[in-house]
Symmetry: C2
Subunit: 272 residues, 2 copies
């Protein structure tokens, strides 16, 4: 019988999904910096028989620009391997015939080029940062409150993230603001939504128990992955906090110092 | 035995508390406009043997400027009769030795002149409107997240209000945003908080059952008043909506077309 505990479970894995910010690199001025050992770790995974995908809640840049940044940092990554909320949102909008009012960062607007945005019948918010002005949030609110059946999509539900100049409010905070204003519940697109993780599994052609998620965010990466039946390992880089290891509801299958250590443990296990 | 139903209960009343915006006047460009009959209705109450106070969640102006506006519209009102959240917050801050970081509208800043604001150990937010920029909300967030025991005061918890140019997001929306960001629960100062209503009753020297609240906001005026044992009547002016009359949890003791009608019913009842 297969060992279901970490790292024994590595033997039965067929695919690995990596979070990006806080696992591969730390964001900050310019492109940010690669986390030591992570470029090599991605190389090792690519050289193994495991499938590999990347899964991010990044919504400030198009995937093209985002992947170009990672490539400049030295990572061997291509756009088709990266799953982010904006393209997932575009698929949902088209499937349901919805025309969005967008409150997103300028850098990600191009992802929505193919979507009809006239006479909006829903609202999509991403991590808009400085674009979350009173006026812009009020405009989004007025669209929602004017709809017979208001629909709000939130690209992720993070509370805050860290940049070199300090903590910054994330999209989840504005999602809660609009939920309260309009007395509705938003649909989250991106981690920790099961729909989002399942689209990555589909792309790999794997069942949940055959895949492992590695991330720095206990709730959105590890919790989300485990909720849909995958394994989840947390790294002690990025937004990791020691208190994560005694979280009341989410327990990682394993906690490792960084991606490099996680990959070495996985590959060693598979050799024996 | 006293009749406890409206308007029979008017016979045993000793005081009336009036909401202001949407009951006395409609806000908008300049000073806004008095609601027909409301100036005369206030005169009639002042000429009666009932005590009268005004209770508002207005936090965009100091009481002095706010009352001056009402006087220009023709109302016989003085500052000492008006209860608003900012002075109530100042009392709480002083009592608990708290030094606020303020995120409020410029017009109300003077209310906090007497409060020590150095090295803040709590945050106070009011209806800051355009001042609710991403930067300003992020600054307030960083103060809170940096505190051992974060304390957030919200001057009211309204979702939105109506101005001549459309609906505008109110302070409650930003309260929910910061609550989620910091995983805390704000302390609301102003309606519908019982503490706030009790401070008005104390000033009149009355018990809750001896007083009647008249407002246009079913939840914050009528619901808040009834929750602390007062009578609550809703007017069909201001933000009143027909759906208020079949609200799932709050039922007014009476619903009347406007303040003028409410006051005539009260005074007629007391004559018989």
């Amino acid at each position: 019988m297969a060992d279901s505990s970490w790292p024994g479970c590595a033997k039965s894995l067929k695919g690995v999904i990596l979070d990006m910010c806080g696992v591969l690199y730390d964001s900050g001025e310019g492109d940010g910096v690669a986390i030591p050992g992570s470029i090599e770790a991605v190389k090792k995974l690519k050289a193994s028989d495991l499938q590999l995908r990347f899964c991010t809640n990044e919504t400030q840049a198009s995937r093209e620009k985002f992947v170009a940044k990672l490539q400049r940092l030295g990572f061997d990554i291509s756009v088709s391997e990266v799953f982010s909320p904006a393209p997932a949102a575009v698929a949902v909008l088209k499937e349901r015939g919805l025309r969005p009012h967008l409150l997103v960062y300028d850098g990600v607007l191009s992802e929505f080029d193919s979507v009809d945005k006239t006479n909006p019948n829903c609202v999509v918010i991403g991590d808009a940062a400085e674009k979350f002005s009173y006026q812009n949030l009020n405009d989004a609110f007025r669209v929602l409150i004017g709809l017979e059946k208001p629909v709000l999509f939130s690209l992720g539900q993070g509370r805050y993230y860290k940049e070199t100049d300090g903590l910054k409010l994330d999209v989840g905070v504005y999602m809660k603001a609009l939920e309260y204003a309009c007395d509705l519940e938003a649909e989250v697109i991106g981690k920790p939504s099961s729909t989002f993780f399942k689209s990555v599994l589909n792309d790999m052609g794997l069942q949940p128990h055959e895949a492992l998620m590695i991330g720095d965010d206990l709730v959105n990466d590890v919790g989300g992955a485990k909720h849909c039946g995958m394994k989840g390992v947390q790294v002690r880089t990025g937004k990791y906090r020691p208190s994560d290891e005694r979280h009341p509801t989410v327990m990682a299958d394993g906690t490792v110092d960084n991606l490099s250590q996680a990959v070495d443990m996985i590959l060693n296990q598979r050799r024996h």
